[in-house]
């Protein structure tokens, strides 16, 4: 891939324009490797919850690569970073409440003497 140095006076660094395609290509390779790893890791039936945790951890790593490098959040303004993270954070919070509710729904303790 050609090295093409590029500047357009955008010196505030709000949106880093990568001058090289190479880092993106390496990112793609990393994503490939992670996909293959997550596939291979699923073959020996690790059992719950370990299998789920491994799969999720790898998925989060892959998403971090896509968001950080493909989507140029790395090097963007903090505002963009906060926006990017807030959606995921909010969904996670929702999940946490849901799981907490479902898991404790049948746990009704009747104290003796009440």
């Amino acid at each position: 891939m050609a090295h093409h140095i590029y500047t357009d006076g955008d010196d505030r660094g709000a949106f880093i324009k990568s001058t090289l395609i190479k880092p993106h290509f390496f990112t793609l390779l990393a994503l490939f490797v992670l996909t293959i790893v997550t596939y291979l890791a699923s073959l020996p039936h690790l059992g719950e919850p370990l299998a789920d945790l491994v799969a999720l951890a790898i998925a989060v790593a892959k998403v971090a690569l896509v968001v950080g490098i493909f989507m140029h959040v790395k090097g963007s303004s903090p505002l963009i970073l906060v926006t990017a993270v807030s959606g995921f954070f909010w969904v996670l919070l929702f999940f946490a409440y849901l799981v907490a509710d479902v898991k404790t729904r049948d746990m009704v303790t009747v104290f003796p003497g009440w």
Binding site: L79, S86, L93, F94, D101
Partner: protein
């Protein structure tokens, strides 16, 4: 005399209408339907939202009429279900949610921060069309026979059993949701990126802060409602079993999904209203607002904590009692920022030079009604008490105190306050005063008896009831009549004022804020030149830091 301390517009020479403004910048239907001017879009929304308020009001009237007698003599039970459902859907999704943000917010937000327009003017117009498409779909369903699930669409009734037009209305609300999301995205970007030089975050009017918080909820909450209704639609159309009890579908899951949006949606309705109240109270006490930063941050606090309390709608839905405990606690917590606001407004009133104008009447009404609505909300948020009062008229009364007594009072107050800015004509005097009074009296007469009814055990959504409840129901219906009169009057004097109202001039109230620095109505691009802000918000009776009269920006150097 933009910053004069006098309230009488007569003190200055008779103002004249500016020669060129956004209303006469272009003509014809096309210039309105294809406009990207935030001011015109605000007016498009004003007209459409008013239509749906009228429709929703007619349904409310029908409900109250049916409830005059203990027997069901006006409607079949199923018809009654459709009537209260349509009342709620029209009022909530097509009136209250867009009411202040899409009309006053659209009009004022760029003016208040010194921008020429919102960040994405075309998206803004698209938002109005989304609203129209959604509204049309809902109207189609309405004329075909309506919906009978209640506005909450609880499963499995909505997915499996209801034979009314659930899918059509669900799609209508889904589409309408995008109008809300577009508005939210637009406002957030506008507030972040379009502020005039010198307009720092802590110089923003509290109206803007309130809209920032509202937009956060719109962007983070509305899509969850969209997917929830889509799942209901998929289940009805394709038979996918998301909530099917035969497969082990979980009705509580639906309620979680639904209320994850719909509880914060209440804050979409009330927060902009709170922003309006901050502006009005400061302007008519002639004092800087008490505790500016606290009010600003309490808006954000309400938006954030308000997201985490939805489970208090599920206290008796077989939700885990431990989840119930947490939600109950968080519900208490969300009262704190709301109370901070009420305390600060009251403190602003203290030793202010209060002017009893129509907007101020509405604002004072808001203070009382919102406090009652908020405190009864705490009662309902209490885990044990809610088991007694769940799904009774107590709940109905509570949320009407918030949504009508709070949100709607703020909307009307804001309309009276900014009407001179929007159309350049003054609305004031006897009739507006009377309407504010009728709304306040009528509202209390309508909904206070419902607190008593609910506490005595009258359930919601019933069209027949035991004889002993009749007195209270008749009182409530009588109040609704007064209320309707109070709501009808503004239509007439607002329209009348468009032609015959006295010309307002730039700043008829002698209020401060960038929107009062430009002409009324504002020119097409809001300001003749880019405003430079060197003053804090609400600088009443304090000389400005750089006191050179008025900012270099004020376009009409009269």
């Amino acid at each position: 005399m933009a910053r004069s301390m006098t309230l009488t517009p007569d003190a200055t020479p008779e103002p004249e209408m500016p020669k060129e403004h956004y209303l006469n910048a272009s003509h014809g239907l096309k210039s309105w339907l294809l406009t990207t001017d935030h001011k015109r879009i605000g007016i498009l929304y004003l007209v459409s939202v008013s239509v749906f308020f009228l429709l929703g009001g007619i349904y409310a009237g029908l409900i109250r009429l049916e409830l005059v007698t203990p027997e069901g003599d006006l409607f079949q039970p199923d018809t009654y279900n459709r009537v209260f459902t349509m009342h709620a859907i029209l009022m909530i999704f097509f009136f209250l949610v867009p009411s202040i943000p899409a009309t006053l917010g659209n009009f004022l937000l760029p003016l208040m921060i010194g921008a020429k327009d919102v960040a994405f003017p075309k998206l803004n117009l698209a938002s109005w069309y989304m609203y129209l498409i959604g509204a049309t779909l809902t109207m189609v369903a309405l004329f075909a026979g309506g919906v009978d699930t209640g506005w909450t669409f609880y499963t499995p009734f909505s997915t499996t059993y209801s034979n009314s037009y659930v899918t059509t209305v669900a799609i209508g609300i889904f589409v309408n949701g995008f109008s809300s999301i577009f508005t939210g995205v637009n406002f957030l970007v506008t507030i972040h990126r379009m502020r005039a030089p010198g307009m720092t975050w802590f110089r923003l009017p509290l109206f803007v802060w309130a809209h920032y918080a509202t937009s956060l909820i719109m962007v983070l909450g509305t899509p969850v409602l969209a997917i929830t209704l889509l799942l209901v639609g998929f289940e009805r159309m394709f038979g996918l079993g998301f909530f099917d009890p035969a497969l082990g579908g979980d009705p509580v899951l639906f309620q979680h999904l639904f209320w994850f949006y719909s509880h914060p949606a209440v804050y979409i309705m009330i927060l902009p209203s709170m922003g309006v109240i901050s502006e009005i109270i400061s302007a008519f006490t002639r004092k800087p607002i008490f505790g500016y930063k606290l009010i600003a941050f309490s808006s954000l606090g309400i938006a954030v904590i308000g997201f985490l309390v939805w489970g208090h709608h599920l206290f008796v839905s077989s939700q885990s009692i431990y989840a119930g405990l947490i939600f109950s606690f968080l519900t208490m917590l969300v009262a704190v920022p709301s109370a901070i606001k009420v305390f600060n407004w009251s403190a602003t009133l203290y030793r202010g030079s209060i002017a009893y104008t129509t907007p101020m009447f509405y604002a004072l009404g808001f203070l009382g009604l919102f406090t009652i609505g908020g405190l009864t909300g705490l009662m309902l948020g209490t885990l044990g008490l809610d088991i007694h009062m769940h799904d009774t008229y107590f709940v109905v009364a509570h949320f009407h105190y918030i949504m009508v007594g709070g949100a709607l009072m703020g909307y009307l107050g804001g309309m009276h306050f900014w009407w001179p800015k929007i159309f350049g004509r003054i609305v004031g005097g006897f009739w507006p005063h009377l309407s504010a009074l009728l709304v306040f009296v009528g509202f209390n007469l309508t909904f206070f008896p419902q607190f008593v009814l609910g506490y005595l055990g009258m359930p919601r959504r019933y069209h027949v009831y035991p004889d002993e409840f009749q007195v209270l129901h008749v009182l409530s219906t009588a109040g609704a009549t007064v209320l309707a009169l109070g709501y009808a009057m503004p239509v007439f004097y607002f329209v009348w004022s468009l032609k015959y109202g006295k010309v307002a001039g730039d700043n008829p109230w002698g209020a401060v804020g960038l929107e009062w620095e430009t002409t009324s109505p504002p020119p097409l691009h809001n300001f003749e030149s880019m405003p430079v802000v060197d003053f804090d918000a609400y600088q009443y009776h304090q000389p400005k830091p750089h006191s050179q009269g008025k900012p270099a920006t004020a376009p009409s150097a009269s």
